[in-house]
């Protein structure tokens, strides 16, 4: 293809280095920002003003930063819930259901153990969330590995089942005494305390610790090696004596457990109640899908996920601020993530291909992504 005095073409990429992969991811994100300008255009806002307002709120004001870190805690956890099984080649699409399971366990135990002290109640809630999220994930993995049932369909079905279970409980047995469609308020002992002077719960440290831990497990332990081997090449892993069933079940359990912890953060850390947003029937369940996107951007690296989720949580908080500052409609942040997801998946094409160009008439070659 000829553009100006340059000749463009697509060639096969022999090796995709991690630098290439990062370059592709960054370019994809940049393209997404360009495409998202469409929404500013619809609103009659200049994209520069829009993005400036977005980021100046999210990273430039103390309220904004607190909101960003609160959101990041959630996003980092659901991203890790996707990343870890992904490293073994297992797709965890059901983080939503696992998140709901964790939230239900947290709320259920929190409402039941009102009289217990904080030091007993919080660990119980976390343990309950880890178990319920993990078991839900293992159920999917088990059906897949043992009975050959399509894991995507089962996970999607479980997401809906959990949604109605949540709706039943918060409109029924656990309903707020005042009759609002939300669960009863958790007692103070069941709340995660805030970092002094801020509205950021301590769970952010838990999320970062899990990310670092997973990084070391993957990089330094034999279990981590088996996980990476299974993900890179399942048949050679089998020859090396690694049981796929074991790896799939364990990674999914860990993924589900982390999604469950995200549920504890969202209930005991943020709201103290369990509410279903009136605009999005699936919130915050839908947010759990963001983990897939952020996992892809982080190239399944738990440490990279910390920075990626910080940046994009700011982005999301900023978009929601635009909804109130510039009167932008609901749903734009969701659309942003959708565009990002599609652009990123398209960008993976360039893992195997590259665009090359040279000036017409000259022999020297330049390469781009």
């Amino acid at each position: 293809m000829k553009i100006g005095s340059y000749q463009f073409g697509i060639e096969k990429r022999i090796v995709c280095t991690s630098f290439d992969a990062i370059k592709i991811a960054v370019l994809s994100v940049a393209l997404t920002f360009v495409l998202f300008s469409f929404f500013f255009w619809l609103e009659g806002i200049s994209p520069i003003t829009g993005y400036f307002q977005m980021f100046s709120f999210a990273f430039g004001t103390s309220t904004g930063i607190e909101l960003t870190i609160r959101r990041m805690t959630f996003m980092l956890l659901v991203t890790l819930a996707f990343i870890f099984p992904q490293r073994a080649g297992v797709l965890n699409i059901g983080a939503t259901g696992q998140l709901y399971a964790g939230m239900l366990a947290a709320i259920g135990i929190g409402l039941w153990g009102k009289s217990l002290g904080s030091s007993a109640l919080i660990p119980l809630m976390v343990a309950g969330a880890i178990l319920s999220g993990g078991i839900l994930a293992v159920f999917v993995a088990y059906l897949r590995a043992k009975m050959n049932v399509n894991e995507i369909v089962v996970a999607l079905m479980l997401n809906s089942i959990m949604f109605y279970l949540v709706k039943y409980l918060i409109e029924g047995p656990w309903m707020d005494p005042s009759g609002r469609p939300e669960s009863a308020q958790l007692v103070k002992a069941a709340r995660i305390s805030m970092i002094p002077g801020t509205s950021v719960p301590y769970s952010i440290f838990v999320a970062i610790a899990i990310a670092v831990l997973l990084y070391f497990v993957l990089a330094k332990t034999s279990f981590g090696y088996e996980v990476r081997l299974t993900g890179a090449n399942p048949s050679s892993a089998r020859y090396a004596g690694v049981s796929f069933l074991k790896i799939a079940l364990l990674t999914m359990f860990i993924g589900g457990a982390i999604a469950g912890i995200a549920g504890v953060h969202q209930t005991a850390g943020i709201r103290g109640v369990f509410r279903i947003h009136r605009y999005f029937a699936l919130y915050p369940g839908t947010w759990a899908y963001y983990g897939i996107v952020f996992g892809l951007i982080s190239l399944s690296n738990p440490l990279a996920a910390i920075f990626v989720t910080f940046f994009f949580s700011g982005m999301q908080v900023g978009t929601q601020a635009l909804q109130s500052r510039l009167g932008m409609g609901y749903g734009a942040d969701l659309a942003f993530v959708g565009i990002l997801m599609i652009v990123l998946v398209s960008g993976q094409y360039f893992y195997h291909k590259k665009i090359v160009w040279r000036k017409i008439g000259s022999q020297d070659r330049k390469k781009g992504t």
């Binding site: 109605y164 749903g331 942003f336 599609i342 998946v345 398209s346 993976q348």
Partner: protein
């Protein structure tokens, strides 16, 4: 009580599943998985609703729904066929984009559809679109199993390299099928907001797309089982939202549990048919190349 009115409503609910599942069946038979069916339906639902509300013509609404669904299908096709992207992730992306877009763009339209945009019923409460839908579905079955074109589609999904050797253009076949799947998804969405429940609210599909996707797996890729599945799920779905029909059962169970039944049933049935023994007895026809991009020798 279960009366004719209830039956009409549940048949309409079933048609939504049937139309969406038919489109998904065709694109899965050609080897492309589109898990973004829910998104296709959302886009079709919004486009149809907006056009019918503006122009007052439900037929233009249906056309708009089909075209917009087809465009999303084309985008998914481009990603999964030309760019060979991960079809599950691409499909989820389509859904999230569609959910965000329709919520955002649909806000000014919230509320019931103005009267002149609605479709009048012709026979016993059924609209003409019901009969058109049935005809489309029959044509698809006939086309898929009784014509050479159907054979082309099925061979593209079964073994693309063999299909190429026999002189077929797998890329083109898959593109056509994915766009068709999108058009049918859009039509199903249009059916939802123009016939079944002519009101716009965010996320009107409420998981119907996931059910339609599940029906395709559930049916073992066979249309006759898919027809049964659609009506079964349509019945369960509508039962869950009609309290009067529930009281008739004499069971005091919250409607939430009725809403769960289709999803639970899918898992159970899928588990049963996925075992090798049973799927051989029933004859599951899973396209062997489903979800796998086809690589030309390059």
């Amino acid at each position: 009580m279960i009366n004719w009115e209830f039956c009409v409503a549940f048949i309409q609910a079933s048609m939504i599943f049937l139309l969406a599942a038919t489109g998904e069946l065709v694109n899965q038979r050609s080897g492309v998985l589109n898990v973004g069916l829910e998104g296709l339906m959302l886009v079709g639902a919004l486009a149809a609703f907006a056009i019918a509300a503006k122009t007052g013509s439900p037929w233009l609404g249906f056309a708009g729904g089909m075209v917009s669904g087809g465009l999303i299908g084309l985008l998914h096709g481009f990603l999964s066929i030309s760019l060979k992207a991960d079809q599950t992730v691409s499909g989820m992306g389509m859904w999230i984009l569609a959910l965000g877009m329709t919520t955002y763009l649909g806000q000014p339209l919230s509320g019931p559809l103005p009267g002149d945009g609605r479709l009048e019923s012709v026979i016993a409460g059924l609209t003409p679109m019901f009969f058109i839908g049935i005809v489309i579905v029959i044509c698809v079955w006939f086309g898929l199993f009784r014509t050479k074109y159907g054979l082309w589609v099925r061979s593209a999904g079964e073994d693309p390299s063999v299909a190429v050797v026999s002189g077929l253009n797998v890329t083109r076949i898959r593109y056509i099928c994915v766009v068709f799947g999108g058009v049918m998804g859009g039509l199903a969405g249009a059916y939802l907001t123009l016939v079944y429940n002519p009101v716009w609210s965010p996320n009107p599909t409420m998981g119907r797309g996931w059910i339609a996707l599940a029906i395709v797996f559930f049916s073992m890729w066979r249309p006759e089982i898919m027809l049964l599945g659609s009506f079964l799920f349509g019945f369960l779905w509508h039962l869950a939202i009609s309290p009067s029909a529930l009281q008739f059962q004499g069971i005091d169970l919250s409607y939430h549990f009725y809403r769960m039944i289709p999803f639970i049933a899918t898992i159970v049935v899928l588990t049963v048919i996925s075992s090798k023994k049973i799927s051989r007895i029933i004859g599951a026809e899973k396209p062997a190349a489903l979800g796998k991009p086809y690589f030309d020798q390059d």
